[in-house]
Symmetry: C2
Subunit: 502 residues, 2 copies
Amino acid sequence: MPRRTSSGRIIHLHIDPESGVPIYQQVYTGIRQRILEGRLPAGGGLPSTRALARDLCVSRSTVIQAYEQLRLEGYAEGRIGAATRVASTLPDYSLRAPAGGFTARRPAAHPGRTSARARELVGLTARSLDVMDEAPRAFRAGVPAVDIFPVDTWGRLMARRWRLVQARSLSYGRPFGFLPLRQALTEYLGSARGVRCDAEQVLIVNGSQQGLDLAAQVLLDPGDQAWLEEPGYNGARGAFAAAGGTSVAVPVDEEGLVVKEGRRLAPQARAAFVTPSRQLPLGMALSLPRRLELLEWAKGSGGWIIEDDYDSEFRYVGRPLAALHGLDTSGCVIYAGTFSKVTFPSVRLGYLVVPSALVDVFAAVRSFADFAPPWLTQAVMTDFMTEGHFERHIRRMRALYKERQEALVSHGRRELAGLLEVQPSDAGMTLLGWLPPGSNDVAAAAAAKELKVDVLPLSSFATRPTRPGLLLGYAGVREREIRDGTSRLAQALDLLRNRRTA
Amino acid sequence: MPRRTSSGRIIHLHIDPESGVPIYQQVYTGIRQRILEGRLPAGGGLPSTRALARDLCVSRSTVIQAYEQLRLEGYAEGRIGAATRVASTLPDYSLRAPAGGFTARRPAAHPGRTSARARELVGLTARSLDVMDEAPRAFRAGVPAVDIFPVDTWGRLMARRWRLVQARSLSYGRPFGFLPLRQALTEYLGSARGVRCDAEQVLIVNGSQQGLDLAAQVLLDPGDQAWLEEPGYNGARGAFAAAGGTSVAVPVDEEGLVVKEGRRLAPQARAAFVTPSRQLPLGMALSLPRRLELLEWAKGSGGWIIEDDYDSEFRYVGRPLAALHGLDTSGCVIYAGTFSKVTFPSVRLGYLVVPSALVDVFAAVRSFADFAPPWLTQAVMTDFMTEGHFERHIRRMRALYKERQEALVSHGRRELAGLLEVQPSDAGMTLLGWLPPGSNDVAAAAAAKELKVDVLPLSSFATRPTRPGLLLGYAGVREREIRDGTSRLAQALDLLRNRRTA
């Protein structure tokens, strides 16, 4: 329906009373769009509110509201009631609306580019994001048995905390996190992991990935080198890349990281990332001589050690090995732990234990990164730990994972013979399976995925060619699904072999 | 009590049955410490388990457990029951224990240094961390009225979600966040802020600070320049510094950012940070001509615009101004919002709306930064929004803040005359007060703090000398405390003036 402006010009406004968008907003949007497109030129008159209201069959107050908004935002000027005009101060260029009008999907027309590190991280996600998908199934790595998590207990603790919540707990909190949780962790890490620290050294983070990211930011300048186990954890590779650092691939052997090789390849590296309790992905522990050698290197070179103790609670033979952190006498170890594996991943809580000398600098970097995890989650985790639920749940998981690993090993021996040699392990939540020499583990993982089995190719952890293998997570998989998953995996690998020999 | 090793050497072990530390662990720790100190040399014998158990008056199984752990960790070798020896493979250096023994507080002896950006951020925190303290009081900025937050409603929604939780919700989720929340935000931002986007462009973060940090990482390479309003927000300054970028101080006038000055100072800046709805800290809106000018600069130069829409919901005259984002036709605006001000800060939720072309790169950077906020908080926020509680709460806060501002203005006029000229504002959660020319606003803030009043000196937002002023937060302060706080502030400023003239 054509509408006349007070200066006689005609404008077209499409009003849809059924759209759910308030009428005043449709009037405002319609006029604004015409102004921006240059169809209503700067300084030109607009219809009187009375005339436009009559033409649109809407109340005059609706039009007044639209004009008021246009005036407030600088599109129009003049008193309401008097002649309202398009603002005369508009710049003399106009932003052309995209072809489909303003409501259409915005085109990716901007010529700006993104940072080099961001582009590097896009390349790295390809190998990592897959395991994060929402529906757990055989043999997704990294996901604990969330089905046995005591949700009722957690819910009860949560309701209790929330019932008594005070205004100060709803405010920002401190960037190092909730003090009682830091105290509970100090006690737990002391007795369970041999980590000796004060609560003030404990920084609560949103998961160990954030811990690695903060550590990289604190320790690395752009261009700095950091040792990474080869094969090793892509999360650490990503954290170093995000900080502008470079990962130096240091080989591992049956004793873990070959420190001597690290010294040869990059003696002046600023940090070394290690998984001493159970190497990710190969599974061996870092031997004592290597631990001492690594500490000696750090002490001598001024390098830092980042210890990722991601699943050390799950050891089925003997007691968990003490953390490397307990051997540190000079304050060079940053220890990273997570609640993702021992409670549930979507709780988004982890922690760092940092040397006393670095407490202030970590607090500063943290406060500009995202501040702190939600108070409620931290408070509930505190109660979960101090009231004994935490250790009870770990014991329960440990017994269950032992059974699940045995199931995977026994089904694997029966069904995967000649296809995949599954290695039992004293610890952890994953097993490594070796493919026949010459196999392509990426192709094997892809074939498995077609039959709805998730496995990680060993080569996805490496920067150089590796013996072909697959990493199988069993912790979060029920026994029945372990059995079925093993069969499907055998089928997939068999199909692949036949395809190759055909 | 002296103990003989099987080779006749004597070792001293101090066992404290009352300490709460398991006995086996005390035996293990004692022997390990002696090995590490070199007092039990490599290859030397250890007492038989039977002899040591008898000497210590503990069960033999306790000693066996300790030896087993030593063996497992590589400190000892030989079969249990046969002669156990200190490992012969230990490196020929020993790590000397610190003076006070291993259990003492670890010294800050490590010679390593931290990154340049980390050191820069330590300098910046001094001006920012103060507002984050836990107990809200007059006139702390940035804290909403948490005392009127509907905690019962939130608790009810939370209990309902948790009662129905499924295993998949306990897992990792996706790095862009919970889809229903992203959909609810798309709708809210469209109607309330004029932001048009698809849910796939919405990234859920842990607060707007994390949003700024991610944006800086995605957009800036080390050394890149970014425009920052002068005076402006230190959170953005910190995010740019963390990414290795440099903030270029671009002046603001009564229309907000002076784009022309930005073009002159740093035409090739990669990003511009703006607070268009209400400039932080001065409070003016970015005028329409300036918005168009800024978009034109971005379009022409390939720069990006980061729009921080931190408290736009609180406008007391007219309707909230539409976001700059709604004028973007080329996809150059990254829009940041937060739930901290409209619900409560410790919920730790915020969001970014990113151009379609940047969705993948933001997802990648995010997945290496910390993954995602807790599922439960996201799910409860979704229900809070879709069931109408959110808008109801905003309306309630808006009415209350208007009253609180009026209280501050009226008490201020009465009590602060000649000391601080408090400016009323059409919007926001803070007011600016001007000190007499020549005053030192840092000294004024310090004086206020002595009387338990928090105010932010205007100069703490600036890199160059500014007209002296104080920023007063009133949103989270009850009227009685506004009155008392105003009196205490007057007292503090009066004392300071007398001290100066004395």
